[in-house]
């Protein structure tokens, strides 16, 4: 079962990069993913674009331990080109929602409580 956030993955990133750099990369991720989500076509076409964006979100989200978001992106990447239009719209809505939840969680629990609080 998916979870919103795997803390051990984020701690590994912090250990590898140092806390300041890990938070900088997290901010990059939130801004970049917001752009990618905004670029997702509202009408569900072209699907190749959706697949490409989902592929990227899947990998990046997993790097930070954002499991729900990564899992939904993985599903979208693997089935975007074959699923029905209605199912695609459901998946896109779920992805947007998961990103919003992830962003609020990150701002409240990761960026606000550490060195990055000032930004």
């Amino acid at each position: 079962m998916n979870r919103l956030f795997d803390e051990t993955v984020f701690h590994t990133l912090g250990a590898e990069l140092g806390e300041a750099d890990a938070l900088e990369v997290l901010r990059v991720f939130l801004a970049d993913t917001a752009d990618k989500i905004a670029e997702l076509p509202a009408n569900g076409e072209p699907r190749a674009l959706i697949k490409r964006q989902a592929h990227s979100i899947k990998s990046s989200a997993a790097t930070f331990g954002f499991e729900d978001l990564s899992g939904l992106a993985r599903e979208l990447e693997s089935s975007a080109e074959t699923m029905t239009a209605a199912k695609l719209q459901d998946c896109l809505a779920a992805l947007r929602q998961a990103f919003e939840t992830t962003r609020q969680f990150a701002r409240a629990n990761l960026l606000q409580t550490r060195i990055g609080a000032s930004s």
Binding site: L13, L17, D32, H55, K58, S59, S60
Partner: protein, 421 residues
């Protein structure tokens, strides 16, 4: 384009990060900076190609997906720029088969691909890949073409006796004993020293002088190899004959005549047929090979799996040995795709009642795997490279005495493998 300065007092040099994903390239650049690299970050093919043309890098990470372009195009550019020595770490979210094929593309281009990392990135693996010392590079840079070698120069080399043979031992994988040796053509020139066969064989094919070289090498192999054969019952000498030469109907008689002059039994000779050039006339090839076989001479299909018509040749020509090409054998224990080819080749050989030789055995792990798969004979640097006659004699004697005194470290698992068969 962005740069990240190293975060250390020392410098490990310059790192080029090529990735179209902002988050991934930021993470890789930061890991590099913490390790002591000054990192240049490129997000597109165009940026990367500009940097590669204008600056020197000590290591590069390359994401295979670059938006509209892809990383394989960049690998070709790197080869064109002759940056063969620069270590390249491949990074991709693509499936494993695409990654493996990319590694093979890199090998074909003679590039120094050090490893493949999959997304999501394991940060430990990224760090380890960027710390890989230069000596761990998997693929050495290639040799440059030799200038000034034309037909006239090759004719002069033939008349001056510049070509000679070396022997690479063939080892029975069941007993560990040396059971034969492949004679390999070598060329020593006054102006270039030893010229690689990878360079001179294509030149000789193009110049039309392959029959002359083949005659010279067969004579030298039988004359030199006679001593090896005389002392060891069942020992064979193998010589290479290009498939393109199997149109000369006098070849069986010429070989028989050399064998008679040197007092060598036909059963001691194996003719290995390579198919780097397609056989022009299969009916003639059948005629020649069947007469060689009737005379008692062995026939082996060489470099199996890489030729123009390996399967057709296998079905129609009377080979009694199949040599699996080294490109499938080297590292087969780490590459399931290659292992499938090795196992299928063995099954094919068995179906035709042929012996199987694995070329390119360079490590104990590869040896263990091909033995387990059921190969009969092995050849490769793990046993010995090609050696001059005196050295190969010494190698065989030392090898035999090791076998006499007990199982060698290489064949330590012999009993358990035989039990598993």
């Amino acid at each position: 384009m962005r740069t990240m300065a190293r975060q250390t007092d020392f410098s490990k040099g310059r790192l080029l990060v090529v990735d179209d994903d902002l988050v991934q390239r930021t993470i890789i650049g930061k890991i590099g900076a913490r390790l002591g690299y000054d990192a240049d970050i490129a997000s597109t093919f165009e940026m990367a190609s500009e940097l590669l043309r204008t600056s020197a890098f000590d290591v590069m990470t390359l994401d295979l997906s670059l938006g509209e372009r892809d990383g394989v195009e960049l690998l070709r550019l790197i080869a064109d720029l002759r940056l063969n020595a620069m270590p390249i770490v491949i990074i991709s979210g693509c499936d494993e088969r695409i990654l493996k094929t990319t590694m093979r593309v890199g090998q074909a281009l003679d590039l120094s691909l050090t490893c493949c990392l999959t997304k999501p990135l394991n940060l430990d693996h990224v760090r380890a890949a960027l710390l890989l010392p230069a000596e761990d590079q998997l693929i050495p840079p290639g040799a440059a073409a030799m200038p000034g070698i034309d037909r006239k120069r090759i004719l002069s080399a033939l008349s001056q006796g510049e070509f000679f043979v070396e022997f690479q031992p063939k080892v029975d994988l069941r007993t560990g004993r040396a059971v034969g040796a492949e004679a390999l053509a070598r060329w020593r020139t006054p102006e270039f020293g030893i010229v690689s066969p990878a360079i001179f064989i294509p030149l000789i094919e193009q110049s039309g002088l392959m029959p002359d070289l083949t005659n010279r090498i067969i004579s030298a192999a039988i004359a030199d190899g006679r001593k090896l054969i005389a002392q060891r019952p069942g020992f064979t000498i193998a010589v290479n004959v290009s498939g393109s030469l199997l149109t000369d109907l006098t070849l069986p008689e010429r070989i028989e005549s050399i064998l008679r002059e040197e007092g060598v039994a036909p059963e001691s000779l194996i003719v290995e047929v390579t198919e780097s050039v397609a056989m022009s006339d299969v009916d003639r090839a059948m005629d020649i090979l069947v007469r060689l076989r009737i005379k008692g001479i062995g026939a082996s299909i060489d470099d199996f799996g890489t030729g123009f018509s390996s399967l057709a040749a296998l079905a129609r020509l009377p080979f009694n040995e199949l040599k699996i090409d080294q490109t499938f054998v080297k590292g087969c224990e780490r590459d399931e795709d290659m292992m499938r080819i090795v196992e299928a080749s063995i099954a094919l050989a068995r179906a035709f009642g042929m012996k199987v030789t694995a070329e390119g055995i360079d490590s104990p792990q590869t040896l263990a795997r091909v033995r387990q798969a059921g190969c009969d004979i092995g050849q490769g640097y793990l046993f010995a490279p090609s050696l001059r006659l005196e050295r190969v004699e010494r190698w065989i004697m030392q090898h035999e005495s090791l076998i006499e005194t007990g199982p060698s470290p290489m064949f330590g698992q012999q009993n358990s493998i035989e039990a598993a068969r």
